[in-house]
Amino acid sequence: MRNLLSIEEVDRDGIEAILDRAQSFAEVGRRDIKKVPTLRGRTVVTLFYESSTRTSSSFELAAKRLSADLVSVKAAGSSVDKGESLKDTVATLSAYDPAAIVIRHPYAGAAQLIADWTPAAVVNAGDGKHEHPSQALLDVYTLRRRLGTLEGKRIWIVGDVLHSRVARSNLIAFKRMGAEVTLCGPPTLIPRGIEELGCDVTYSLDGLEEADVVYALRMQLERMNDKFVPSLAEYAANFQIDTRRLHPRQLLMHPGPVNRGVEVSGEAIDSPQSLVTEQVAAGLVVRMAILYELLAGRPERPTSIGDGPAAAEAAAPTIGQPA
């Protein structure tokens, strides 16, 4: 695996390999010294064009736990504010010869695009409403730990599917691991044609009792401006996952950040059925495993250190250099 651009391109064996690796890192996490030297001397860049707490912090910590040097760039406050194009930003960061660039971007395909512009391994940390593969992997990891297997399990993904990259990646990953997936939400928030991905679609919570796992999506409050639903109250009345609707044997997941009282009730999210904090913990080890899988098996590119100035020259990008 050269890059992680979408979960679509990772087969079941590939997913299992990352999860097994993540499990071994979970053991490392229980030691006093939680760091391994795998990526010592190598550089990981995180490039975030959208706000993020969980994904950015866990990728950063994952890189540090693997002993990589970390450069963390946020679009706000960087040259992106000055109008620098994605292509130029990537060329600039690539000049540091990073082993990996982890990118989050508000538009679909950004990670795939930059993979053509940089020799670094590219990790998609969310591209528009398209994909969020590391989230899918950590959710599968969380469920595998709890359930042993996803084979034959019924998973309902509930809420704003239309605007959710998590829904898309998780649908693909859950199915690939053998689960049956139902998408549930108001018709205005379920994209036309999504059932062709091989899932059931329903517009009410009737039948939720069949689910082994209920995966609630964040109701993106900013979407209210587009009047996708008449009101949050009406949404909550029809689609909120609360302790009345959630059967005690069912597990509850959520990608965060949670709008308590909208898509889930506070009681449900705080209940022992909720896997939310386990998901966050899984995020760290799964992202360590992703970086490990992409970088550890890959020969380090020659760098200037010890190779003399001529090698440094050769390794530098040629953009703007005289021929």
């Binding site: 994605l86 538009y107 398209h130 959710s164 994209p191 036309r192 044609g193």
Partner: protein, 453 residues
């Protein structure tokens, strides 16, 4: 309106030597004129002089081309081209755009008016016509906008624009959102004449859409531009055109729903013509899975296979009477960005014939005669003479090698931009020589013409 006899009576082109040429033993095909067979095609002083029996034409003092095994068609006419002039000459200009047309076998084009600023006053039309007389390889007509600044709020001075030489009205690039303004334009057509070409898209219903709404947009998480945002606008304008007894031309049909509306309107007597683009006839939204905006982001978007099949059927039955490329050049900077941020549009002049020949004619989906007829069908809706091989007419000829294989983009483009939807494809069929408006407009570099004896 009195019908023009020659394209160059109405359109503007750089003045040059009239062609004197014999295409020896060419296979001629002009279904509209009923011409089909091997002849010596004789062009003298820029006109089709004679279709002589093979090997018998007198080629004294003229260039002679051994055209044995090659096909000569009436050259093509594209009623939908973006020359990007004035204001966006980094994408295209009159010189490069018409060179691109010549390389595609076109003998005439109509340039759209959504430039920067838009062509909405007579002085702009006059200036463009002057530029064409200095730079254009093939005859060009310039469309003017329907509304001032393409804002959809007030009509342009349509009579003055017509008198300055505009050949059509269109706000292409944008729909005319207001039914009230649309109706006024159709009323005013009784005075100003000229057909009105319509980019049909309900801007509210398609808001945020960057590709066809369907299973692929759902899978990619891209904003959907639903088919009904096109068909409902066409239905509105058909109703208005019927009410005002006006004439409309619907641009770049993309959806089965739209075809149903056009077919029904025509059956009911509405004066409507329609075009389809090569990319909509050859590709579907499945291509967008590549997330490559340079080749696959355009407006209207690539649609479902059922839409593509309906377009082909409509091409066959004449509901769509012409193929128009919607040649829309963009600079690389506007395409080397994520799909949603990229500009809409692909180039198409240089590849239209070859792509349709490869994708539709060779597999037997449509026959060659139909393709030729539709590629030259874009003149009639704008009261311009249809290119023909009939003796006596202005020479407008595309000489093609149907067996030639070439890889698009390998040798660059005549267009200033490279956002071709065919980039990298290997196509079969190539234009070797184009005669446009009686002049030799293009010769493929690797194809050498014989010299006069």
């Amino acid at each position: 309106m009195s019908a023009a006899i020659n394209l160059t009576d109405v359109l503007d082109v750089r003045a040059g030597e009239p062609a004197d040429l014999v295409l020896r033993r060419a296979t001629l095909l002009d279904p509209v004129a009923g011409i089909d067979g091997v002849h010596d095609l004789v062009i003298r002083d820029g006109r089709i002089a004679e279709l002589a029996p093979p090997g018998e034409a007198d080629a004294t003092d003229v260039e002679e081309v051994d055209a044995e095994g090659l096909h000569a068609f009436p050259a093509f006419f594209d009623p939908h081209v973006h020359l990007r002039t004035p204001g966006q000459e980094h994408k295209e200009d009159v010189e490069t755009g018409t060179r691109s047309a010549a390389a595609g076998g076109y003998c005439g084009i109509i340039a759209m008016a959504n430039t920067a600023p838009p062509v909405d006053d007579a002085s702009a039309v006059t200036a463009l016509r002057e530029q064409a007389r200095a730079q254009a390889s093939v005859p060009v007509g310039f469309a003017a906008t329907v509304t001032v600044g393409m804002k959809g709020e007030e009509l342009t001075e349509m009579v003055e624009l017509r008198d300055a030489g505009a050949v059509a009205f269109t706000d292409d690039g944008l729909p005319i959102a207001s039914a009230r303004i649309m109706r006024r334009a159709l009323q005013y057509q009784k005075l100003a004449g000229l057909n009105i070409a319509l980019h049909e898209q309900d801007p509210d219903l398609s808001a945020g859409g960057v590709m066809h709404e369907g299973a692929v947009s759902a899978a990619l998480g891209l904003g959907g531009w639903p088919s009904v945002a096109e068909s409902t606008m066409i239905a509105r304008d058909c109703a208005l055109a019927a009410y005002e007894d006006a004439r409309i031309h619907v641009q770049h049909l993309s959806a089965v729903e739209s075809i149903d509306v056009v077919r029904a309107a025509r059956a009911a007597g509405v004066r409507i013509s329609a075009e389809a683009s090569p990319h909509h006839l050859c590709l579907t939204d499945e291509e967008v899975r590549s997330l490559d905006p340079s080749r696959f982001k355009m407006n209207p978007p690539l649609r479902h296979e059922t839409d593509r099949q309906a377009l082909i059927a409509a091409l066959r039955d004449g509901t769509i009477e012409c193929i128009a490329t919607d040649h829309a050049p963009h600079h690389a900077d506007e395409k080397e960005v994520p799909f949603e941020q990229a500009a809409f549009g692909v180039t198409g002049l240089e590849t239209a014939f070859a792509a349709l020949h490869t994708d539709l004619v060779m597999p037997g989906v449509i026959d060659l005669g139909l393709l030729v007829e539709r590629l030259s069908g874009g003149a009639a809706p704008f009261d311009l003479p249809r290119p023909t091989l009939a003796p006596g007419s202005e020479a407008n000829v595309a000489l093609c090698d149907l067996a030639a294989e070439w890889t698009v983009g390998e040798d660059g483009y005549e267009s200033r931009s490279s956002n071709s939807w065919c980039e990298g494809k290997t196509l079969t069929g190539r234009v070797l020589v184009t005669v446009a408006g009686g002049q030799i407009a293009y010769r493929l570099r690797s194809f050498s013409l014989g010299v006069a004896q």
